[in-house]
């Protein structure tokens, strides 16, 4: 959406201030449309009443993201691909993390195939209060045999409900895969200069999104996109070509930048589609698995940072997935608001009067790190999350948002009754050690202040020596 003024959106709203969207005025709702925190459909009168039909359509067109949003997969595991509005994250935020699709091939032994699919679809890591996962399976036809491909796709579907990318340039192979999987809305990879007519027919028939692969040729890519668009096929993803190394790698990045700039800064609608990158290509350049894995991560970083919308990858080992997953998370974090939790007292497990009371801040990264360190080690405890405006422990000790007065007040506000506790005490983060004396004084000596380890990952070991307090 290029529109920056709420007033211009307000024009297309019912202007009744009915409040059904959760705002008191249509103007406030219009502002929420601008920063994309609300969707047009959430103004139910506009979406449902016939008399507004025209306004509804106009408004939807205005607020549509600059880069087309393409849906892959169905149900809970459906993936949003593209749908971005800005070139640099600080201009607003990036919205839809590029799904990572990990490859399997139709020449794998069945047992190995099932094991790999399970490994991909069960991979998870706890980060900032949520489980982070990878999203998709890319099924590659290396056999060239339609029957084999269909069987492989079927096996994948029996093993997981993760959405798929069906990879082959042979329309017969693709057809075999689509006959099995079309209802799960897989992404087809890909139409190219040789097969595009047949692939166009296929994706039209099965109504699935498709990648247009015209590597290192933006003119060709654009004209193919125009052709598909004219045939009424709109869910397109562009493969600009991912070179794994050499001078061509620079060209790959330049082509991605050109496509994004054309779409986001120059408003060129006929090229404003999501893009696909193939970090997996790193594996075709070397036999050394560590080198291939590291290089795949480096390629992933290049294209995540500059906004490619979906990726095909290979290495599912922790030293590959962890950095790539975190980088993607960091780049797609909304820079407009620090991620916070509600301040106050939280229970972890089933705390009793013999349990410890941990103090931390309300910065989500900090709070959830501490909570998960405590919970996953089966420690029953209270955690007091102090309102530091969403700043972590170390930074808020330095900046003064975490201080003894605030801690005392927070416990007062929560009506926390230390006299009921067997060991009336609180555990401070190691990084806040410097004000433990002052804090003890403020509590009038009624609450013992213990200084915990600097890293909450060490709380378990710390408790072995210091809990219960002597």
């Amino acid at each position: 959406m290029k529109e920056k003024s709420p007033l211009n959106l307000y024009k297309h709203l019912p202007q009744t201030n009915c409040g059904k969207c959760g705002f008191q005025t249509c103007m406030a709702f219009a502002a929420a449309l601008i920063d994309r925190s609300k969707r047009v459909e959430e103004c139910t009168p506009l979406a449902e009443e016939k008399k507004y039909a025209k306004k509804y359509e106009t408004l939807k067109a205005i607020v549509a993201p600059e880069i087309r949003l393409v849906y892959v997969g169905t149900g809970e595991k459906e993936q949003k691909v593209g749908g971005e509005d800005v070139m640099y994250r600080h201009q607003m935020t990036f919205f839809n993390k590029p799904p990572f699709a990990y490859d399997v091939t139709d020449t794998m032994e069945e047992a190995a195939l099932v094991e790999r699919v399970k490994k991909i679809s069960t991979w998870k890591k706890f980060y900032i209060g949520k489980w982070e996962r990878v999203e998709m399976i890319a099924v590659r036809s290396t056999s060239g045999d339609p029957a084999k491909f269909a069987a492989c796709v079927k096996k994948v579907m029996e093993t997981t409900d993760y959405p798929m990318i069906l990879c082959s340039f042979d329309p017969k192979v693709l057809r075999a895969g689509l006959e099995v999987a079309a209802k799960t809305r897989p992404l087809v990879y890909a139409a190219n200069k040789d097969n595009w007519q047949e692939v166009a027919k296929l994706v039209h028939e099965f109504n699935v999104p498709v990648v247009l692969s015209v590597p290192f040729d933006l003119d060709g890519l654009k004209s193919m996109a125009l052709t598909f668009e004219q045939m009424g096929i709109h869910d397109l993803i562009l493969d600009f070509g991912t070179a794994p190394n050499g001078k061509k790698l620079q060209e790959s990045l330049h082509n991605l930048l050109k496509l994004r700039r054309a779409a986001l800064e120059e408003g060129q609608k006929d090229i404003a589609y999501p893009t696909i990158a193939l970090p997996i290509n790193a594996w075709f350049t070397t036999k050394d698995p560590v080198r291939a894995a590291y290089w795949e991560s480096v390629l992933t970083a290049t294209f995540v940072i500059r906004g490619a919308s979906i990726m095909i990858k290979h290495c599912i080992e922790p030293h590959c997935v962890m950095p790539d997953m975190h980088l993607r998370y960091n780049i797609y974090t909304d820079p407009r608001r620090p991620v916070q939790v509600k301040p106050g007292i939280y229970k972890v497990g089933n705390p009793t009067e013999e349990s410890p009371v941990f103090v931390t801040t309300n910065f989500a990264l900090t709070y959830y790190t501490v909570e998960s360190d405590v919970a996953s080690n089966n420690i029953d405890a209270y955690i007091m999350s102090i309102n530091t405006d969403g700043i972590g422990v170390q930074a808020s000790v330095a900046g003064g948002q975490l201080n003894p007065q605030k801690i005392v007040e927070a416990f007062k506000e929560a009506d926390f009754d230390f006299t009921k506790m067997k060991y009336p005490s609180i555990v401070l983060p190691g990084m806040a050690a410097k004000f433990s004396g002052e804090l003890e004084d403020l509590f009038g000596g009624k609450v013992k202040i213990l200084v915990g380890p600097e890293d909450s990952g060490r709380i378990v070991e710390w408790m072995k020596s210091y809990w219960p307090p002597k």
């Binding site: 600080h90 060209e251 990045l253 940072i305 590959c320 998960s372 990952g457």
Partner: protein
């Protein structure tokens, strides 16, 4: 036909800064290194990158705690900064080395400034690449330490790390001017503080434009990289658009990556996480991705530790330059 323009608002180049001085310029380095000079965001097609981002490898003047994956590469030189520096350059391909005078910290050995400065001479003799000189991070003592170090390295155009708003930055700035060095201006993730410090270094301490590099702070992958990345990208975009208080090359303390638990912990403290695998493989890639992301945001010089991380950072940035 597909057509697209370049960014017309990027009109102002980043200041080019030379590190090191050869005999001809009053120093003793074998060659000099230029950083900065960009006219566009890194690796964009708008304008070629004039120089590959460079790596300066950390050397400490006393043994310090390091992650296992890092330590194994330095065990044989940990008590000898000169040999350490040599190994970094000849074996690991460091473009520069940084000698960190951490033993001057009153809480560590409290080494007097004059004595600490001798280690700088040792390093200058051991290698002929340009060098950086770091203090201990103690804001009260660093100005004295860095002044003494700047004096023994007179004429070498070392990068002096660093001046900060909460210390006597003026003393450090002047020591750079008087002895012909480059001043590293360090602030914590805040664009306006960075402008303020750069301005003060120029206007009050008299540091010339071509002798300033900025360190806007590196927060590592998964531990605030989102802040560090965006802060640097905004600084660089602001500079290209003509904000004269920001048109300087940037430096990153990439070694911070080793503070992240994912880089060094044996296994996840969270029992339900998928297996974290071999930490010897996780650590280097954590340093690579932390550094490389910031290379994409505009960093010109990286302070790093793991040999593999250094090699990959050099290779990918060179490749993306074409």
């Amino acid at each position: 036909k597909f057509q697209v323009g370049i960014d017309e608002t990027w009109k102002y180049p980043i200041q080019e800064v030379t590190l090191g001085a050869t005999k001809a310029d009053g120093g003793s380095r074998g060659h000099t290194i230029k950083i900065g000079g960009e006219k566009a965001l890194p690796f964009f097609y708008d304008a070629p990158m004039p120089h590959r981002p460079v790596v300066t490898m950390d050397v400490f003047d006393m043994p310090i705690g390091m992650a296992k994956a890092v330590k194994m590469h330095y065990e044989d030189v940990i008590n000898d900064p000169g040999e350490w520096a040599k190994k970094a350059v000849t074996k690991f391909g460091a473009d520069l080395v940084t000698i960190h005078l951490i033993s001057t910290d009153p809480l560590l050995k409290d080494t007097p400034p004059r004595e600490a400065a001798k280690t700088v001479e040792e390093v200058l003799q051991a290698v002929d690449v340009p060098i950086c000189i770091g203090g201990s991070g103690n804001p009260d003592k660093d100005p004295e330490v860095l002044k003494a170090a700047a004096e023994v390295a007179q004429g070498e155009r070392a990068l002096i790390a660093s001046a900060n708003l909460n210390m006597d930055w003026e003393k450090i700035g002047r020591a750079c001017v008087d002895n012909g060095h480059v001043c590293l201006a360090w602030t914590q993730l805040e664009i306006n503080s960075q402008k303020e410090l750069n301005r003060k270094l120029m206007k009050v301490a008299g540091v010339p434009r071509e002798s300033i590099v900025m360190d806007p702070t590196t927060a590592a992958l998964a531990y605030g990289l989102d802040f560090a990345y965006t802060n640097m990208e905004r600084i660089r975009l602001g500079a290209l658009k003509g904000d004269e208080e920001l048109t300087f090359p940037m430096s990153s303390g990439t070694t911070n990556a080793w503070g992240v638990r994912e880089a060094w912990m044996v296994r996840s403290p969270n029992k339900e996480d998928s297996d974290w695998g071999d930490r010897m493989l996780r650590g280097p890639i954590w340093e690579i991705i932390t550094g490389f992301s910031l290379a994409m945001a505009g960093v010109d010089i990286f302070m790093m530790m793991h040999p593999l991380a250094v090699a990959y950072l050099q290779e990918i940035t060179q490749t993306l330059m074409g």
